[in-house]
């Protein structure tokens, strides 16, 4: 490997990057857009679920229960109905996702201390939200029941009620259970996959398409010199993107890095290397800018979104899919990012993930170099 030639390729490629302002803008704008989009839109927190109520009881007791729902940050009472048809209409139209049906004998049974059932109907077409909403509803019901029991005890003059067992909840690493805190690290991985693969996927194909490759092959330049030289400027752009993502996470979404930022950037560089060479591999194999670019986005974006633990917990997937996740480096990187970002842990725990990232990068580097027959066919 001749480093002067490698440097010349890197210099030339940097000029291309700087002069192609559209691609450069895109490379810097895409992370911004993705982070803002996912940061704001992809929230898994449940807030103000539209709720419809059929209060058959119409008593102070039932209103108390409804108040409890309305006062919580999770539900927003949108309408009151007097029959099932009305409820169904609201659910059908999506005007409500949860319906509460309070039976007519509610107050009487509560007063009598007899058990009473409240019907909670969820819109199952959005299974996640409705499951969460129903869980919250159950919790609110339990709170209400507890209040009632305590009240009655007090009324009966037997002092205050002390529950036998109380669950004191505390969520470590993310005390407020904000989903953004969990998602921002994942978004960084997503951004890197999309941008990096997009950047390098066109670069070799462009030389073929413009006819410059033939000329290059006729010079003493070797394939590794071309490949490594080409990666240099894109590596720089990729790392700028990482910094951009971290800064936006910090200042826009208030997600600070608990752990070692240096380690985060070092491992991001390792991950970036693997992805850049994956993009190059596509470019080398497909020899077409458009095709390679599309492939890069599809093969980078989808698995990172779905199979990396970014949104959907890997543990909940069927076993074959779980096995599949091991071949996508985003899985390891997201684990690393969350570890450093939220838990503040270091290589003493994350070393295995780091090793896997290293192996992936190595495989991609070797594969790209192997795939590149620096000859005309």
């Amino acid at each position: 490997m001749n480093f002067r030639r490698l440097a010349a390729v890197a210099r030339k490629e940097t000029l291309h990057v700087l002069r192609d302002w559209r691609s450069l803008t895109l490379a810097l704008a895409i992370p911004l857009v993705l982070i803002l989009l996912y940061g704001y839109a992809l929230t898994l927190d449940l807030r103000l679920v539209p709720t419809v109520v059929w209060d058959q009881s119409k008593t102070s007791a039932s209103r108390e229960l409804i108040e409890l729902f309305a006062g919580s940050p999770y539900f927003s009472i949108r309408s009151y109905r007097d029959d099932y048809d009305g409820l169904q209409q609201d659910l059908d139209r999506g005007a409500a996702m949860v319906a509460l049906v309070i039976p007519a004998d509610f107050a009487a049974r509560v007063d009598a201390g007899r058990p009473v059932a409240i019907q909670v109907i969820g819109d199952g077409s959005d299974a996640n939200t409705s499951r969460l909403a129903m869980n919250y509803a159950t919790t609110l019901g339990a709170i209400y029941a507890g209040n009632v029991a305590a009240e009655q005890k007090e009324l009966q003059g037997r002092g205050t009620l002390q529950p036998a067992v109380a669950m004191e909840q505390r969520s470590w690493y993310n005390p407020d259970l904000r989903s953004q805190t969990v998602l921002i690290p994942g978004i960084i991985a997503l951004v890197m996959v999309v941008v990096a693969a997009m950047l390098t996927s066109t670069t070799i194909a462009r030389e073929w398409e413009s006819g410059t490759m033939e000329q290059l092959i006729s010079t003493p330049l070797t394939a590794p010199e071309l490949i490594f030289g080409k990666v240099v400027p894109y590596f720089a752009v990729g790392m700028i993107d990482v910094a951009l993502a971290v800064l936006i996470g910090r200042w826009v979404f208030a997600v600070p890095i608990v752990g070692n930022a240096g380690l985060l950037f070092a491992l991001a560089a390792l991950f970036l290397t693997g992805i850049l060479f994956f993009g190059l591999l596509l470019s080398i194999r497909l020899k077409s800018q458009v095709l390679a670019n599309q492939m890069a986005i599809i093969t980078g974006f989808m698995p990172t979104l779905l199979l990396s633990g970014f949104v959907f917990a890997i543990e909940n997937m069927p076993v074959p899919l779980q096995i599949l996740t091991y071949i996508f480096p985003a899985r390891y990187f997201i684990a690393i990012l969350r570890g450093i970002y939220l838990k503040g842990i270091g290589l003493e725990i994350l070393w295995l993930d780091a090793v896997f990232l290293g192996i992936y990068a190595l495989i991609m580097i070797v594969a790209a170099n192997r795939a590149f027959a620096f000859k005309l066919e």
């Binding site: 002067r4 291309h16 192609d20 413009s210 033939e214 003493p220 066919e377």
Partner: protein
Amino acid sequence: MGPDQVTTHPLPAIKAEQLSKVFGPLTAVDGLSLEVFAGEIFGLVGPDGAGKSTSLRLLASIMTPTSGSAQIAGFDVATQAAAVKDHLAYMSQRFGLYQDLTVLENIHFYADMYGVARTGRQERIGELLDFSQMRPFVHRRAGNLSGGMKQKLQLICALIHTPQVLLLDEPTNGVDPVSRRDFWRILHQLLQTGVAILITTAYLDEAERCDRVALLDRGKILAAGSPDEIRGLMPGRILTIRSSRAREITATLKGQTSATAVNTFGDSVHLVCADIDQAAEETRSLLQQAAIAWDHIGEAQPSLEDVFVSVLDRTDGNAAEPEATAHFAPPPAAAADGIVVTVDNLTRRFGNFVAVDDIGFQVKRGEIFGFLGPNGAGKSTTIRMLCGLLRPTSGAGTVAGFDIRRQAELIKRQIGYMSQKFSLYEDLRVEENIDFYGGIYGLSGNRLERRKAWALEMAGLTDHRASLTAILSGGWKQRLALACAILHEPPIVFLDEPTSGVDPLSRRRFWNLISTMAGQGITIFVTTHYMEEAEYCDRIAMIYGGRMIAIGSPLELKTRAMHDEIIDLRCPDPQALVAALRSLPEVRDASLFGSGLHIVAADAAVASRAITRRLEELHTQDATMTTILPSMEDVFISLIEEVDRRQGPGDPEERS
């Protein structure tokens, strides 16, 4: 290098032995053997698909041969690729440099690729920039250079490491004639430094400038030798008849004489015959019988193209591409005076750039009118305005009696248009392509069936109606494209660079077809950057920098429009004489041309005397001089230079 190498004999700088390359069912290069020595320029000539580029790629070690071997500067291309690449420079056919980098950035990039040391690099670059006169443009982006300058830049990049071997793949394709000549001047200077040059070209006139030439067809060398030796291979001699009724003469003579071929070139008819006197006798009596007058009958020197065509014809046997004959329906009458296309003061600007500048001409019914000029001269812009696709900025024009500004839609029904790229769908069958174009032109029912049968017959594709278009040869595709373009029987046909990349034999047949069409009253409007092609036209407009610099028949242009004269000087070592002769005040220019020199002078008689004196001073013997008819390229260059002399040296490159 084996011990049996004879040391007194110089080693060839380029050596190929039985080199072959097979792509699937196609043998692109079939047992190529050649040797090129230091200081020699060797031309590989042939049509597209003959295997020229593949041969060069094999030699440049950027493609692996299927069999055979080759050495560059003594290094094997298969096993010593690194050493080979250090000693050679290869220039690919497509522009291989980075358009978004400046001239200097490109040069430095290639200097780095070849590991040219930093010390002394500036001097080397300066030397090359001066040599190619590119210094004023060092900070311009390569993408903003004209075609000729791009080629020079590519050559600079190729020469940066002072290679011993230069492989050039059609370096002057589409470049304007002035830049082309400039490029050849540089090549000839390089030869003096001992570089061996192998160049491919589709221009047979360019091949005449080489020391040795090989005619390549279907991967095989048909003939090799100096241009003179190649000319000696011509199986017959050429009888030329000049007349204003050349097409009628061709029709009269075809099949009636002992000649093996009869071709029309504008106002001349060429007969290839074994016995020239007998043919001349037959011709005279036939023409007298038919009462056709002629200006001149005599023998003509065969061009390399003539040789190529006859050699190809012999090897082919040519049942493959039958000569197409067809009757073209007489077109509707044109204006009473027979003028079909009129253009007055036509101008088109794009922003500040004047693409077409005050052009005016008329084309008569049944005329083959050529629009000749380099890429970017304004040919396509003019055609687009004539076809009603583009509005002129100013000026007026009519096509088939319709105004090009207001009646564009009517014009489109009156014209047929065939573009350079043969707009056929390769994945459709021959018949399906015809159906498609028939549909576009609104043909249906009986008329479509009739025209389809006619098109198949005309293109000689009746037996191949169900073949996929992709598998047809270039000549066939060209005729099919023409058939599709004239399905609706237009009285005017526009052909945009119709024969680029077609082999000479197919080209000649194509022009015979065009000539027949014109004979039956169809008007043909052709654009070409191909100087040789202009010879087939009745009249030519030369266009350069958006302006029309001359108009007339080929003969008129050669005899009247061009004010300089050309002397062909044959002598033993022409290379050594170039500088000495160029310095003579009577000589405007001297350039190498094959085994001789072409000398441009204002007055051939005066110049001849001066040259003879100079040759005596230099003790050069065996020199012969003849004043020759200039080639179309000579005419073009001399006219361009006249324009430049009148206007002062402008920067024609600014145009692009």
